[in-house]
């Protein structure tokens, strides 16, 4: 057993950024020449070429008509055959919704547990991942022999380091038939017409559980208005129906990178952080001094947002006069 497999994913016809990050994590674990990038689908020539130009190991095109659209059954069957053929020491996945859907079952098939959501790898193969909604970190080590399955969190490893290329490309046709796919996926769809454009907003005021009730929302809306920015929210606010889902920033909502992101009453669960940590300047306002949001903030104010936000609105208005 040697070598590292990396399962790459596409988004909008291109290899996704987090897939390059998974490759960067693989380079951290072993010699780049022992890394094999795997791409699955009914047609894999284009993504395979994109991968081959940037890595020095091998690209494996796992092609079968039943691999598009994605099903957990299809991916598990195909990747089990790939793993048995390649006999890697380690399999690395990007931590996406799709991976969360099949990788735990794939690992279990090899009597292993996926070390999911990894944010750092230390020299002696200790994998760091968040615990308690990001309030703590856990250091995990494999305690048994067998393949090491790992998924990496978005933004944790530098995609820009994957540049050297001219990998060999191989084609592999897994053996599978339609009767093995037990679920029938429908076409993806979007819920409703978008009325807010968070992607292009320069200033965003994000609001979280700390707002306590829907009636208090105007205080953050007034701050956003004073700054000429938009309001966004963490998942619990949208789950409660206080703001529509389209206002949500995080892994299940928008990914934003404005010039200024003010997080008001947002504790900073990893699912929210992945959606906004690329912002140029982050201001955190939270009553809990240990809230994880402060770890990524440029400026922090420990205090009750019900007092701090209105004061901030007044100060902004004054500054703009």
């Amino acid at each position: 057993m040697s070598g590292i497999l990396v399962v790459a994913e596409q988004r909008a016809g291109r290899i996704s950024r987090i897939s390059w990050e998974a490759l960067a994590a693989a380079h951290r674990l072993g010699d780049a020449r022992t890394v094999t990038a795997v791409v699955l689908g009914a047609e894999t020539e284009t993504p395979a070429a994109e991968l081959a130009a940037k890595i020095s190991g091998k690209v494996l095109r796992v092609e079968h008509g039943l691999l598009t659209p994605y099903t957990a059954d299809g991916y598990i069957i195909a990747l089990q055959q790939v793993i048995e053929r390649e006999e890697p020491a380690c399999v690395i996945f990007p931590h996406t919704y799709q991976v969360r859907d099949y990788a735990p079952a794939l690992a279990a098939r090899f009597a292993q547990v996926l070390i999911s959501d990894v944010i750092a790898i230390s020299e002696d193969r200790v994998f760091i991942r968040p615990l308690m909604q990001g309030r703590l970190n856990g250091s995990y080590r494999k305690s048994s022999s067998g393949i090491c399955f790992v998924s990496v969190q978005a933004g944790a490893f530098p995609a820009e380091t994957v540049i050297a290329g001219a990998a060999t490309v191989e084609l592999f046709a897994p053996v599978m038939d339609a009767a093995q796919l037990r679920t029938r996926p429908g076409e993806p769809y979007r819920a409703a017409a978008q009325t807010v454009d968070l992607g292009s907003a320069q200033i965003i005021v994000g609001v979280g559980r700390g707002i306590k009730s829907q009636e208090n929302l105007p205080i953050v809306q007034e701050l956003a208005a004073a700054l000429g920015g938009e309001v966004a929210a963490s998942r619990p606010i949208c789950d409660a129906g206080w703001l529509p889902m389209e206002f949500q920033v995080g892994s299940s909502g928008h990914t934003v990178a404005p010039k200024l992101y003010i997080a008001a009453g947002i504790s900073g669960a990893i699912q929210h952080l992945v959606g906004m940590k690329g912002s140029q300047c982050i201001v955190a306002i939270n009553k809990d001094p240990d809230a994880p949001i402060f770890e990524i903030a440029d400026y922090g104010i420990v205090g009750d947002l019900m007092e701090v936000v209105p004061a901030l609105t007044a100060a902004v208005k004054e500054a703009r006069q």
Partner: protein
């Protein structure tokens, strides 16, 4: 429909945490515990399916004695009966070890549907439901907001990334992991709380299930996250802090 809902008791969301003396887990002695949020949504979905189509809702949970309070809460909300796998070493088992306990118990019940939340708020592995499906040999769907019964099985609404959704059809029996927010959680009524005391709560010691407990991955230590940025903490009254921040946004960040 016979539905099993696997729930986990986790530290309450806002409970202050500190690292225990061994540095391997959090100090639990003063903690308050609650039902994991997405598991609560799984329970709610099960109760709604039962109200529409009839059947039985069985709550399944593994953990030490204290877990019984969370199980009673689920019974008070309307679950029919419960199974508690008594297990004091949950921390030492990994996701596969826990799923093996749940699978061994679920199998003997022959359920039509197994529901659970998509991930726990403490360990956050997000894998128990998917591994459970693999161990039971059942099809599964994850990150589900809503379940509709059809003639041939179920149709589920799955959340994808960046505001996209997808409907998936599954035959029964199946395993589904629920995302939070798809349904509105009910409160237990006084009558429900009273009734819960008389409902069946079967206790099974984990050791009787005879499953492997040797973990394949080990949590060696826990630690506070390192700061990724040098955060400037601004102190003073709300008014003073606001004025200082605005000055910095002007002169250092140039956004005002």
């Amino acid at each position: 429909m016979k539905i099993i809902v696997a729930i986990k008791q986790v530290p309450e969301r806002d409970a202050p945490v500190c690292i225990d003396a061994a540095g391997k887990w959090i100090e639990e002695s003063d903690l308050q515990f609650a039902m994991n949020e997405s598991d609560a949504h799984a329970l709610e979905e099960a109760l709604q399916l039962k109200e529409k189509h009839g059947g039985e809702v069985i709550v399944l949970s593994a953990g030490p004695e204290r877990v019984a309070t969370t199980i009673r809460e689920a019974l008070a909300k309307g679950a029919d009966r419960a199974i508690h796998i008594i297990c004091d070493d949950l921390q030492k088992r990994d996701a596969l070890g826990l799923a093996r306990l749940l699978a061994a118990t679920a199998k003997s019940e022959n359920p039509d549907l197994v529901l659970t939340g998509l991930q726990s708020e403490d360990l956050g592995f997000g894998q128990t439901g998917v591994i459970l499906a693999e161990l039971l040999g059942l099809p599964h769907a994850t990150l589900i907001l809503h379940i509709e019964k059809t003639d041939s099985g179920i149709e589920v609404k799955r959340e994808l990334e960046e505001g996209w959704f997808q409907n998936i059809q599954l035959p029964l029996p199946a395993v589904v992991t629920m995302q939070s927010g798809g349904n509105k959680l009910r409160y237990a009524t006084l009558m429900g709380i009273k009734r819960a005391k008389t409902k069946e709560l079967r206790q099974i010691p984990a050791i009787e299930l005879g499953v492997a407990s040797e973990p394949t991955v080990l949590l060696e230590k826990i630690s506070w996250p390192q700061k990724q940025k040098a955060t400037q903490m601004i102190t003073g009254s709300a008014k003073d802090a606001a004025a200082t921040l605005v000055a910095k946004l002007k002169t250092e960040v140039h956004v005002l």
